[in-house]
Amino acid sequence: MASFWEYANPLKFMRTTDWLLPVVAMAALVVTAIGLIWGFFLTPDDFRQGATVKIVFLHVPAAMMAINAWAMMLVASLFWLIRRHHVSALAAKAAAPVGLVMTLIGLITGAVWGQPMWGTWWAWDPRLTSFLILFLFYLGYIALWAAIEDPDTGADLTAVLCLVGTVFAVLSRYAALFWNQGLHQGASLSVAPGTRMDWAYKAPLYVSMTGFGLIFVALVLAGTRTEIRARRMKALVARERMA
């Protein structure tokens, strides 16, 4: 386990990602391209949904990553609060914009899909609603980081916001479920019983989910490297001012 914590050292992290980042980035590009090309060009139309079923290869991976990104931020925030490793705080900071864009892609593809399927761009369905609320949480988290001068204070405050926000995001999900029962698909893919989706769709879907996951990892690594550099720059400037 001790070896794992070494990567929380900025220097070690920079060295490792020096070679890891290009690898992950390439993998992300290739896998995503395969998944999307397969999904877009090589899948049959659904008998009910027609060609719109092709949207699933963007919608579901994006939605999944939007939630996973928040989960990753939660874990990184906990790491920071407990072990105070700077890299984890900076990784959480770097993940937020990626999560935000994933949420946005989920929302947009969902809206575009909703128009032919449900006859409306938007419905106040609980799942959609909680997704919109997640979007708001991302905005708040990013805005708080941007507003604070001192990096350690920023890391502390955003970490607490992430924890408290998670609790309230979950509460909002239940509140939204209580408030309105919706139109949206259930978990048609995740759980084994009643597997409703054909392998012709499932296979490319898995590929593009992996691709989105890799994109996320690559962007977070790149973002964390940037944040580490920015942090070092800030420290050097402050130190010069002091001397």
Binding site: L144, T153, D156, V164, F178
Partner: protein
Amino acid sequence: MSALLIRDLRLALRAGGGFGLGLAFFLILAVLVPLGVGPEPDTLSRIAPGILWVGALLACLLSLDRIFALDFEDGSLDLLATAPLPLEAVVSIKALAHWITTGLPLVLLSPVLGLLLFLPAEAYLWLILSLMLGTPALSVIGAFGAALTVGLKRGGLLLSLLVLPLYIPTLIFGAEVVSRGAQGLSVATPLALLAGITAGAVALLPFASALVLRINLR
């Protein structure tokens, strides 16, 4: 403890303390909505529960930055942090003072605004009850947001952005109580959930707020 409460109430009531501004804002909002939406009693009475709750929430929101910012600026907060009171108690009492000067008057004013929005007669009781149960949660959650942003210059809009999403569960259950009440349906479940949220927030959030405040002071 009571000394702090009394001081905060006294400061709010003295000239320039800002007591009544939240109330006035609530009133103005209830006037603006009919002006924007149009005067039909049907529509207004349908949306009245939601609008009143959203209005209460915004009125609460706008007075949040007074909870800690003034004490931070004049150094009182440093001194309170070194006083024998635990900071958790300070936070709770300040949230209580905020509720007494903002939430409670909102509860009392709300029936009047209900009239302006043609709230159905059956709903008044539930409006008062739900606001009574829910506004403490608004103050406590708001105190958390205020503690998060206390050191920031002109943090007002950021504060709103952080706090409003946290208000969502309270809003949903609160408005649901009133609109179910207006339709004569059972309100037991949302009322219980509202009470649960308030109880949870009051019991747990002061710890988070005190933590954040300590971080901001150092």
